[in-house]
Symmetry: C2
C-alpha cells in the first residue's frame, strides 16, 4: 500500500492538533508526518501513533517532497504558502476560508460532494464548521426535494475560536464561582460566561457577519444549489465544544417529517437522535469528541406547508474541521469512483 | 389617591419575589400587601419598602377584601384559587398559562394591547416570557405592516425555570471548575453547564414543545393577528438571567431595516441597540435586572424580499413576567383611555 508524506500547516492550533490525532485514529497511510508551525514552536516534538515527529518552521522549502498538506492556519498563512505548496507538487487541503469560493477550488464535504475533489488544481477547500454541521443534517432532505431556503440560528461553542476560547470561558466561570474579579474578554468581544454573543466574525454592509454569510455562499457551492437562499444568525454560547443549529428549511416539493427522518437515519455520517417522548435530541455534550452529526427535533414547519424544522449538533473541531479534511485526503488517495 | 389591597399568590418564587420588588420600585399605591404561599412559608415576614408584611397561607378565605391578586404560581394553583379570587371581588392578574387562551380572559402586554384589559371578567392573563420578549421587539414592525409569519429560535436563561434553575447551573459550573463530581440534573432534563438543551416544557404530537407553541398561540391573541404563523424552537442555554431570541419575520408589505429601526427606537419599552460597526447588539448580560427590551441585528432577510431578521434580549423575570403584571395592574387602576 502506498504511503504518503503529509504536512500539517498550523500543527499547534486546535484544528491542527486534532488533524494529527485523527490521522492516527483513522490509520491514514503515512510514511512521514511534517507538523509545521511558526518559528516559536519549531523544534518541539509531537507524538504520533508510536512515533515522534518534530515541528518544523513553516516556510516555502518545508513543503518540498510532501504529497499532501492539511491546512489548519488562518487565511493569511494559507494564502502565503499556497504557491509554495503547489510548487512542491503537494495537494493543499485547506481549512481556512481563503480559497473556498474560488472557481477552481473544490469545496467539499465528502458525504455530499466527494466527487468534486477530483476537479482540483492543487487546492481543495474544507468548509466552515457551521456549514458542515448544517449541511450534513439537511443534505438527505435536499436529496428528496431540493432545499430552496433555510433560516438558521446557531449556538456555537467557544472552541470554534481556537484553544484560547474554552480557556477564556472556563477562567471566567471559575472566577465567578470563587467570587473573584472576572478576567477581561480577550478572545470574545464580551464576557462569554453566562452570556451569549450574537457576533462571530466581522460584519458586512448588509448587517450579516462573515460567519453568517458562509452558510449561504458555501452551501450553494457544496450542494450544487446556486439559487439557495439562507438567512443565518450566528451566536456564540458558553459551551466548550460542539456547535448546534436550529434550522427551518423550505423544499421545492413537500417532504414529510417521516420521510426526512428515514433519509437522515440512512445518510452516512448522520445519527437520527429524535424521540421527543423520551427527551432524546441532539445536545453538544453528546456530540463532543466524535465524528457523527446528530439530528433531531424534526417536525413540520408551521409557517409553510413545504417547510421542515430540525435541530442538529456536531463536533465542529472534528467533523466540522479536522475529520472532514482527513476524509477529503482519504478520498483523494482512494481515487475517483 | 386611592390605595389598593394587593395579594401575591406564590410570593416566595422567583417571579413572586420580583413582583413585590417591582411594586415597591414603581411605587404602586398599596394600602395593604398580602404575600401568599404554601403553609410551609406562612408566618415568615417579607420587607416591603419601609414596612414588613407577613406571608399567609394561600387559601380561599385569604383573598377576602383584596382588590388585586398578582398570580406567580403554577397552573394548578392558579386554577384552584381563581374561583375564590373572583368570589372575593378581586381582579386576578395571573402569570400562569392556565387562562391565557380562554376567550373571556384578556392576554395583555400593556404597550401592545393595553385596552384589552378593560374587557376582563375577573381574570387578566400575563403572557409567556419568551412571547413578551419577542412581541415587544416585533410589534413596532407589525404596526407598519402586519407580520404574517415568524421563525424564532430562543436562547432561554436558567432562571426561566425558577430560583432552582440558576442554582443548578452555578453548582454544576463550580463542580467542573473544582474538578469535583458534577451534581446531577434535577431542574433540567440534562446537565445545563456548558451545554444547551432544546426542550422547554413537554412535547405535543406535532413535535413542538408547549413553550414553542405559546409564541404562535399567544402572539395571535395579543397582536390581534388570528392568522399569524410561528415556527419556534425553544432552547435552554447556560445563562443566569434574560432570554434572547433570533427572529426572522415576513410582513404583508415590505418593511425596510431603516423603517424597522426607527419604529423600534420609538416604541415604548424598547431600546434600539444596533450598531454592528461598534459591536453593539443586545446580550443577556446587558438586559438583566431591568425592564427594557433591547433589539438589534436588524437586517434584511435573505430568503424573502418581505422578510427581516433581528435579535432581541430582555429580562424574562421582569418585563417577561413580574413587571408586565404590575404594568397591567397600573393600567387597570388608571382606567380605560
Amino acid at each position: 500500500m502506498k504511503k504518503y508524506k503529509v504536512g500539517i500547516l498550523g500543527a499547534t492550533g486546535a484544528v491542527g492538533a486534532e488533524m494529527i490525532k485523527i490521522l492516527a485514529q483513522r490509520n491514514f497511510p503515512i510514511s512521514e508526518l511534517v507538523p509545521m508551525a511558526s518559528a516559536n514552536s519549531a523544534g518541539k516534538t509531537l507524538p504520533y501513533s508510536d512515533r515522534t515527529f518534530t515541528i518544523v518552521e513553516a516556510k516555502p522549502e518545508a513543503f518540498e517532497g510532501l504529497d499532501i498538506v492539511l491546512g489548519a492556519a488562518e487565511n493569511d498563512i494559507a494564502e502565503k504558502f499556497a504557491p509554495a505548496i503547489k510548487q512542491a507538487g503537494a495537494v493543499f487541503i485547506d481549512n481556512s476560508s481563503a480559497f473556498r469560493l474560488c472557481d477552481d477550488v473544490p469545496l467539499v464535504i465528502p458525504e455530499i460532494n466527494g466527487e468534486d475533489i477530483f476537479t482540483h488544481k492543487g487546492i481543495i477547500a474544507n468548509p466552515n464548521c457551521t456549514t458542515i454541521v448544517t449541511l450534513m443534517a439537511v443534505k438527505a432532505i435536499s436529496d428528496i426535494s431540493p432545499i430552496e431556503t433555510m433560516v438558521v440560528s446557531s449556538y456555537q461553542a467557544t472552541s470554534g475560536a481556537g484553544i484560547a476560547g474554552p480557556a477564556e470561558l472556563l477562567a471566567q466561570s471559575k472566577a465567578i464561582a470563587e467570587d473573584k474579579p472576572i478576567p477581561a474578554a480577550k478572545v470574545f468581544q464580551y464576557q462569554i460566561a453566562y452570556n451569549v454573543i450574537p457576533q462571530i466574525g466581522g460584519f458586512g454592509d448588509n448587517g450579516y457577519s462573515s460567519e453568517e454569510m458562509k452558510l449561504q455562499n458555501e452551501g450553494r457551492k457544496i450542494m450544487h444549489l446556486p439559487e439557495l437562499k439562507v438567512t443565518c444568525t450566528c451566536v456564540r454560547v458558553p459551551v466548550i465544544r460542539s456547535h448546534s443549529v436550529s434550522v427551518q428549511l423550505i423544499t421545492k416539493e413537500k417532504v414529510t417529517p417521516l420521510e426526512a427522518k428515514q433519509a437522515i437515519a440512512a445518510f452516512p455520517g448522520c445519527v437520527l437522535e429524535d424521540d421527543t417522548t423520551q427527551s432524546i435530541y441532539p445536545m453538544p455534550l453528546l456530540t463532543s469528541d466524535q465524528d457523527l452529526i446528530f439530528v433531531g427535533r424534526i417536525r413540520e414547519d408551521l409557517t409553510n406547508p413545504r417547510g421542515l424544522a430540525l435541530w442538529s449538533c456536531g463536533d465542529q473541531i472534528r467533523k466540522g474541521a479536522a475529520t472532514n479534511a482527513v476524509q477529503i485526503a482519504e478520498r483523494l488517495i482512494g481515487g475517483a469512483k
